[in-house]
Amino acid sequence: MGVFDLFKKKSSGNVAKDRLKLLLVSDRANCSPEIMEMIKNDIINVIAKYMEIDSEGLDIQITQTESDGSNGNVPALIANIPIKEVKHNS
């Protein structure tokens, strides 16, 4: 325990704020877990045509990102899709 711990540890107030921000983006987008699951499966089906992906490790979420325009933060769908192997069948 020391001064360095103070810098490392995020205050619980900030943790709460960050959790809330993420939570509200998906709340406001009105995206139920069922719909997220459907989106996830559709993405897997499309990409599986071209490459072998790790469907277990696939992670998608709705979050906020800064837009290039001037209107500040906009919701964005972020998908993290680990590729196992690219198919070469052309």
Binding site: S12, G13, L20, L24, D27
Partner: protein, 263 residues
């Protein structure tokens, strides 16, 4: 011109009823004629917070069903000449009243009162729909907690969808000592997330518990929450009041004060 204000939050236990009691009493202290309506049918509470529980004869459902006139059901608070309470029914449920009936009742009361304060039940179902039906503006009560703010955000969305003309935020139960340590979201944090106008912040204070025990709203007395509630009342009637310094330091609240004046 009279105004109908609904006090709502989504989540239970954040201080809707305490806020309703104090705002209603405060407005009466500012010489406005006020009626408080408890719309939480089945879970009557505003009467005990106001200390008027022993004087109930008729209730909201009796009025709506035509068993009595509104005048007969309203309890006159003997401490303030301009303050009345229309209590809720304890042995009925939310479906006993419809939004249309609430609208009609509120319109009728508008002729006699300057302010009609509706204490909304928790939740977003029938009781909520009844409470917001006749309202001109809303006071959203929240605490600096993830669950309460999340529910407040949902309520704000619903109110906007219902074309509520004015929506203001009250941040309740704030603890400046915890905010300072970084262990509680600040008023600024809450405002940034919910993005609506702030009309006041009320500190977490033992005097609130004492006042509720005694059945006497503390608005206007010389405690910090008493002052905070009175400031909220003054802002409701259109006065410009600087934000109360809850922490004992200037910088932080001066900023909030400026934020408020812009709106």
């Amino acid at each position: 011109m009279s105004e109908v204000i609904v006090v709502t939050s989504g989540k239970g236990g954040v201080g809707k009823t305490t806020t309703s009691a104090n705002v209603g009493t405060g407005l009466a202290k500012l010489d406005k004629k006020v009626v408080l309506i408890d719309t939480d049918i089945g879970l009557r509470n505003l009467d005990v917070v106001m200390g008027l529980e022993n004087r109930i004869v008729y209730n909201l459902v009796d009025v709506v069903e035509g068993n009595c006139r509104a005048k007969q059901a309203m309890i006159k608070d003997k401490r303030y000449p301009n303050l009345y309470l229309l209590p809720s029914a304890q042995t009925r449920d939310k479906t006993s009243v419809t939004p249309e009936q609430m609208k009609k009742l509120v319109e009728e009361l508008k002729e006699e009162f300057d302010y009609i304060i509706l204490d909304c039940p928790a939740g977003i179902e029938q009781g909520f729909k009844n409470a917001i039906a006749g309202a001109d503006r809303a006071l959203i009560v929240t605490t600096p907690e993830v669950s309460a703010i999340r529910d407040a955000d949902r309520i704000i969305g619903l109110l906007e969808a219902n074309e509520m003309k004015k929506i203001d935020l009250i941040v309740n139960r704030i603890r400046m000592d915890m905010v300072k340590k970084g262990d509680m979201m600040s008023i600024e944090d809450v405002l940034e997330i919910l993005a609506i106008d702030l009309i006041g912040a009320v500190p977490d204070d033992e005097n609130i518990v004492i006042a509720t025990n005694q059945g006497e709203p503390l608005v206007g007395n010389n405690t910090l929450p008493g002052q905070a509630y009175m400031n909220i009342c003054k802002r409701i009637i259109g006065e410009e009041v600087p934000m109360l310094d809850l922490a004992g330091s200037n910088g932080f609240f001066a900023k909030i004060g400026k934020l408020f004046k812009k709106n």
